[in-house]
């Protein structure tokens, strides 16, 4: 039975972006509420930024999931790097106009300005740092028309900061920065995730000192934590299968945490 628990627990931490896996932490909930409010305000653009693994994609997914029933909202998880393709996709999704041929920026602007829809559609662009500077400039111009609202996510690096400054500083009315979790938030995150999957025994194995060690290794980054815990339960499954005497099922072993960290590259050995 225990072996099943370790296997189930392992799957809990698969690094996937699924709105169902969203864990409501206090601070994250405040951010999410702030984002929801911003989207509902008559803003031209909203910038969501933070280091990789802080939950930006999860935020967009959750927002899309929550608002799609009541709002015209479109999520683009992977960037559309070709400009022509980008406009055609937007025309299709926002205005329900399909173009077979080329659609340039000028043509799309005309179509957008002539649209008579009362409701302003919301476009969620994930990984916006991958768009070219010229396309980002055009996205800014599109938002100026107030016919479409953009919510974009950026990785927080020097380059992205520059993009934010150059292209959006005067237009963005709302910026939200996502940060890594604290140690207590991380404990809550791990246990809540496990409890959601009914892994009660596994959740009880994470005492404060163990979570602190995990926090020390991952610095509270959700993606790193997921990767680490996935590997950790993978190792536990192996021990359970081949040398069950070596593991203590009441608490997580520091050794196995460190072995997991070595495997995922959080520790150099």
């Amino acid at each position: 039975m225990k072996s099943d628990i370790f296997d189930i627990s392992k799957d809990v931490f698969l690094d996937t972006v699924n709105a169902k896996d969203y864990i409501e932490l206090d601070r994250v909930s405040i951010f999410y509420q702030s984002l929801t409010d911003s989207v509902l305000k008559p803003l031209k653009m909203v910038l969501l930024y933070g280091k990789p693994g802080t939950g930006k994609s999860m935020f967009l997914t959750k927002l899309h999931n929550d608002l799609s029933a009541t709002k015209k909202i479109h999520l683009y998880k992977t960037p559309i790097l070709d400009e022509n393709e980008f406009y055609k996709t937007l025309a299709q999704d926002l205005l329900s106009i399909a173009y077979d041929g080329e659609l340039n920026f000028t043509q799309f602007m005309k179509i957008l300005n002539n649209s008579l829809s009362d409701e302003i559609p919301i476009v969620l662009l994930d990984e916006a740092q991958l768009y070219s500077n010229s396309l980002m400039e055009k996205i800014r111009l599109l938002s100026d028309t107030r016919k479409v609202k953009f919510v974009i996510t950026l990785h927080k690096t020097d380059k992205e900061d520059l993009i934010a400054k150059e292209h959006f500083q005067t237009r963005i009315w709302e910026t939200i920065e996502l940060k890594n979790s604290s140690s207590s938030e991380l404990k809550f995150y791990i246990q809540k995730k496990l409890l959601k999957a009914n892994c009660f025994d596994a959740a009880s194995m994470f005492q404060d000192d163990k979570v602190n060690l995990i926090y020390k290794l991952t610095k509270g980054n959700y993606r790193d934590t997921n990767k680490l815990l996935y590997t950790l339960f993978q190792i536990y499954s192996w021990y359970e299968e081949y040398t069950p005497g070596k593991i203590n099922k009441n608490k997580i072993s520091n050794k196995i945490i460190e072995m997991s960290a070595i495997h995922v590259g959080l520790l150099n050995a």
Binding site: Y239, M259, A269
Partner: protein, 260 residues
């Protein structure tokens, strides 16, 4: 699939790496503390050694004062050596006097003179000591005389062994006093070591050619070493030079065969 065995090995390497700084720090602390302890004890032992050496030096210094004083005896009165020798044999019988004299030496000069004078008065009944006093009045009359008695007495008490001669030789090497070399020559002559007696008499003559006793020992040693002709020749020259009656008598005794 994870390779757990490989992962365990990597984890083991990681643990060793993570403990290495602590291990190094611990070793460094141990080394430093042991070095400090070593230095501390070494320092203490050095201090002890120094104090012991100081004590030894003090002892040696006190011994040397006797030596120096004793050395002055023959230089100031070389002629009286045979007399002193005789006198000494009498003085030897008074060890308590020597002890008192030692105490006197360590006192300040002003008090010394008084004490020494008193002593001289005590000694007066013995006529030979009076003579000595008379001879040595010149540089520092009284201070020097008293040690003379001590040293001579000390020497004579111990001169029967070759070790004692060695001690005097050591002293002679430090100050090249002809009185000491003469003394050594005489002692060697007495114990039948004529070679050494000859050598030290020769040294004495080189240091001071006016010591009659030295020439006599020198000549006697030559006779004993079967160099009668040389002894005669030396004595003749000395007699010509000094008109010494003792040397003349010895010369005639050698020539006549009375002294062999």
């Amino acid at each position: 699939m994870l390779n757990i065995n490989e992962l365990e090995k990597r984890w083991f390497v990681y643990k060793i790496k993570s403990y290495t700084p602590y291990l190094i720090i611990t070793i460094l602390i141990l080394l430093t503390s042991s070095l400090l302890l070593f230095l501390f004890y070494n320092d203490n032992s050095l201090k002890n050694k120094v104090s012991i050496e100081k004590k030894e030096v003090k002892k040696f210094e006190t011994h040397e004062t006797y030596v120096k004083i004793a050395d002055k005896v023959p230089t100031t009165a070389p002629v009286d050596i045979p007399k002193i020798k005789n006198d000494i044999q009498k003085v030897v019988l008074q060890p308590s006097l020597n002890f008192i004299d030692n105490v006197v030496i360590n006192k300040p000069e002003t008090s010394k003179k008084k004490i020494i004078k008193e002593k001289i008065i005590e000694v007066k009944p013995e006529p030979i000591i009076e003579k000595i006093i008379e001879v040595k009045i010149n540089p520092e009359p009284i201070i020097e005389k008293i040690p003379v008695e001590e040293n001579v007495s000390l020497q004579i008490n111990k001169q029967n062994t070759s070790n004692d001669i060695n001690l005097v030789i050591k002293r002679f090497k430090t100050n090249n006093n002809p009185a000491l070399s003469l003394f050594i020559a005489k002692k060697y002559y007495e114990i039948g070591n004529f070679n050494q007696a000859y050598n030290y008499a020769l040294i004495t003559n080189q240091l001071n050619k006016d010591i009659e006793e030295s020439w006599i020992i020198f000549s006697k040693s030559l006779v004993k070493l079967n160099k009668k002709d040389k002894a005669v020749e030396v004595l003749k020259q000395y007699v010509e030079y000094s008109n010494s009656s003792r040397a003349e008598i010895l010369l005639s005794n050698i020539i006549s065969g009375k002294f062999k």
